[in-house]
């Protein structure tokens, strides 16, 4: 069994972001593995622990993403591949999915798993685009996954509840919160991860065509409507003021 886990490195939510012209200023940014991808790594390792085989972590981005691959090693993946590109390229899901699909095709993976979205662009595109490029089925927003190497049964989140679906491998899956509890890397794992090899692939080796997105520019978020604290003697006073503000001033109710 071969499992490919997609790992994206993103700025920590708590980190402050300085907006440049076409990219962010990376000075002082703390980088983490996108939280949903941690569920994907954990699930990949759990399946391998049950059925045997190999888990390959793949990360696309500039040099710093190697740190994310070291963390994946420390959690227990068997191999790591770095697809080396500039960071802004990751805005273009069709380009990144082409690079990754070409890599995965060569690996002949039974399962491709990644987070349901990355927390930097929230696009929810890459894993399913890879499925389409590889001409395989996908299961999005998995909350529970059973995989015997051939048959895949999953419970997934759908609007208003859950759905249980079945398909055959090879398959691509996106992980939703609730799928598992990602393990913390052990100290031993962290130490040995430092020495493990990271295979580097460049875009021309992977035969991708060209980007289909042009970054026009980045800008700071629009200013919020300025706020105020209401003053009232009691709950009734707050309630009548709020109703008035929402109906007459904001006109939203």
């Amino acid at each position: 069994m071969k499992i490919v886990v997609l790992v994206k490195q993103v700025p920590d939510t708590e980190t402050s972001i300085k907006v440049g012209d076409k990219a962010i200023n990376e000075a002082g940014v703390k980088w983490i593995i996108s939280p949903y991808d941690e569920f994907a790594i954990e699930e990949g390792i759990r399946i391998r622990e049950k059925t045997g085989g190999e888990v390959i972590a793949v990360s696309l981005g500039p040099d710093r993403v190697v740190e994310a691959l070291r963390t994946a090693y420390a959690m227990g993946v068997d191999r790591a591949v770095h697809v080396k590109v500039d960071d802004y390229v990751t805005f273009d899901s069709t380009y990144t999915s082409e690079l990754l699909a070409n890599l995965i095709k060569a690996e002949n993976a039974d399962l491709v798993i990644g987070g349901r979205q990355s927390i930097d662009t929230d696009s929810s595109q890459v894993v399913i685009q890879i499925a389409e490029r590889l001409n395989i089925p996908h299961i999005a927003m998995a909350l529970k996954l059973e995989f015997d190497g051939k048959k895949v049964t999953a419970t997934r989140e759908v609007e208003g509840g859950t759905e249980t679906v079945e398909t055959q491998a090879p398959v691509a899956v996106t992980a939703q919160k609730g799928l598992n509890e990602p393990r913390y890397p052990s100290l031993k794992g962290i130490m040995s991860a430092k020495k493990k090899p990271v295979d580097v692939k460049k875009p021309d080796e992977l035969g991708a065509t060209a980007s289909k997105i042009e970054v026009v520019g980045l800008e700071p978020p629009p200013p919020r409507i300025s706020g105020r604290k209401l003053e009232a003697a009691d709950a009734q006073g707050f309630a009548s003021q709020l109703v008035k503000a929402l109906r007459e001033e904001a006109k939203v109710i």
């Binding site: 939510t13 595109q125 089925p137 609007e159 800008e219 707050f238 709020l242 109703v243």
Partner: protein, 319 residues
């Protein structure tokens, strides 16, 4: 070749508001680039929606009978309609369904895609899509350089402006094609009465509600306003409510017109999920809570007193 194709969405056989939002946004783009607006609805009863979509600007209203939602079926069917209509711009809801089939449609159409757009404008004949990135700490503008430009669009981000299109109704012969995932069962018992992603009003609770027995207090207010019920991560992790209600980084990203945060302190991960709400009401006893930094209207008081008073006040004025 300058047409716009939008894909609408239904819920329980009724048109979701996003369908009209996309039609209206599509109309504006089509007027700027000189084309028609085709509105696709996955249904065998398209006549029912023709009036509403015509009034939002649709020139053709296309019904496609693709059965129950399956991402591959929708992708196959919508792609064959794209091949027939040859639009240069495609707008798809950034809903749980739209996110799924749009990815496959983009690859089939060999098109670039920008997902989760909140702003759409036209520059030099190309659409410029604006979207929040890095949890809303920055906004990015993108153009798609391929012949077909695909965008998924966040609910409540586009205005519905009345402007009649030609309104011709068509029934498409598009089929579901090959589908490799089989649905075994569905459980819709734990869900929200109103979907968080589409809701224009959300009433949300945090640790300050003290326990799961107090949700009815918030649900009452939500029902009065026709709002969805949201929750902070703390309440979900404590097991007070199902994860499908969670708003924030590891929950849902929402952009309602009005977000009423009750007993929510406003951790940065929560703000990441609701910070783009148009108006934010915060009700919290702790006047130093970070939620007040983003609140349009702040109420420093006990939610157990204010929420019921608010519900009864709204009941009075809303009849």
């Amino acid at each position: 070749m300058a047409d716009v194709l939008i894909v609408g969405e239904l819920k329980d056989g009724e048109l979701k508001k996003i369908s009209k939002e996309l039609t209206s946004a599509g109309r504006k783009i089509a007027d700027a680039i000189g084309g028609k607006v085709h509105a696709v609805i996955i249904t065998d009863n398209v006549d029912k929606f023709a009036g509403d979509l015509k009034a939002a600007g649709a020139d053709t209203i296309v019904g496609a009978n693709l059965g129950d939602f399956n991402p591959e079926a929708y992708a196959n069917g919508i792609y064959s309609i794209i091949q027939e209509k040859k639009p240069s711009v495609v707008l798809i809801p950034h809903s749980s369904q739209g996110k799924e089939y749009s990815a496959r449609v983009a690859i089939k159409a060999n098109a670039g895609i920008v997902a989760d757009a909140v702003g759409l404008s036209v520059d030099g004949g190309k659409v410029v899509a604006k979207k929040p990135i890095y949890s809303g700490k920055a906004y990015a503008n993108f153009k798609v350089t391929s012949d077909i430009q695909i965008f998924t669009v966040r609910a409540n981000s586009q205005e519905v402006t009345p402007k009649d299109g030609a309104g011709a109704v068509e029934k498409s012969g598009a089929t579901a094609g090959e589908v490799r995932t089989k649905s075994l069962s569905k459980d819709l018992s734990g869900g929200n009465k109103v979907q968080l992603a589409d809701a224009s009003i959300i009433v949300s609770g945090g640790r300050g509600i003290k326990g799961p027995e107090n949700w009815p207090l918030l649900q009452d207010l939500a029902d009065t306003l026709g709002a969805a019920l949201g929750a902070s991560r703390a309440t979900v992790d404590a097991g007070w409510i199902s994860h499908s209600h969670q708003v924030g980084q590891t929950g849902k990203t929402v952009s309602p017109n009005c977000y009423i945060a009750c007993g929510i302190s406003g951790a940065i991960q929560h703000l990441a999920g609701m910070g783009s709400s148009k108006y934010i009401v915060a009700i919290n006893k702790d006047g130093d809570a970070p939620i007040f930094k983003v609140a349009t209207y702040g109420v420093v008081a006990d939610l157990f007193e204010v929420v019921p008073a608010l519900t009864s006040e709204f009941k009075k004025v809303l009849g």
